[in-house]
């Protein structure tokens, strides 16, 4: 029986993959005729996902750890 889910939760975060996703920058199109994001797409963005936001916090802390260990 699993009494402590912490290990599984930590391993499932998969921050390395998150880093790749967050590094992809969307090319901003600012012209008037540029296609705008639909509301449907906007709502499904990863920043609305609380797990994603936690992952971003973890990335910052992990970078600090790496700096310490260097």
């Amino acid at each position: 029986m699993l009494t402590n889910p912490a290990r599984q939760l930590y391993l499932n975060m998969d921050i390395e993959k998150l880093e790749e996703d967050s590094s992809k920058s969307n090319t901003a199109t600012s012209s008037l005729l540029a296609p705008r994001k639909k509301m449907k797409e906007h709502s499904s963005s990863s920043s609305n996902n609380p797990a994603f936001r936690i992952g971003q916090h973890m990335l910052v802390i992990r970078k600090q750890r790496e700096n310490l260990n260097v």
Binding site: A6, R65, L68
Partner: protein, 166 residues
């Protein structure tokens, strides 16, 4: 310290949740921090305090896995009504990461609890602590010798009527 699955012998008995007035427990009322972001802010500010990190380092040196500590912290907060169980689950990885940072900055060896559980094997963190303490003891034998000499000197003189006088 290995984490072995144990039977929940101290679990609640059926109907136990109905023995108190509904809403009288902290976790039955709306949480203090409703969102993950609020909970993160609460934890980060709490964990960055010096008092917390000192206590945490003591616990880490005892060889308790960080995953166990993280789970205990979030469970306590749920019971205090700080946040809900689902927010607690989301926050756990961040707690583990933060504790790792505290451990690394204090330069101590700790058990992160992320490796597979190996039964009947003492964790490396515990062994390291024992080695370090032994080294400290062995490196200062002179101090012990002086302490022993002092004790000998402090031995009281016999005070009976028939005792020899010096």
């Amino acid at each position: 310290m290995s984490e072995v699955a144990q039977p929940l012998l101290d679990g609640p008995i059926p109907g136990m949740s109905m023995t108190a007035e509904l809403g009288s427990r902290p976790w039955q009322s709306p949480p203090q921090y409703a969102t993950v972001d609020d909970a993160v802010e609460y934890y980060l500010s709490r964990m960055s305090s010096e008092e917390f990190s000192e206590q945490l380092i003591d616990v880490m040196e005892m060889g308790i896995p960080l995953t166990t500590i993280a789970n205990t912290i979030q469970m306590a907060s749920v019971m205090e009504g700080k946040h809900t169980v689902d927010v607690g689950m989301l926050v756990i990885p961040l707690l583990v990461e933060m504790m790792m940072l505290i451990g690394d900055s204090a330069d101590i060896k700790y058990d992160d609890g992320l490796t597979e559980v190996k039964e009947n094997k003492t964790s490396e963190a515990v062994l390291d602590n024992v080695r370090r303490k032994l080294k400290e003891q062995l490196s200062s034998p002179k101090e012990k010798e002086t302490e022993a000499e002092e004790k000998k000197e402090q031995v009281e003189e016999p005070s009976g009527l028939m005792a020899r006088r010096m």
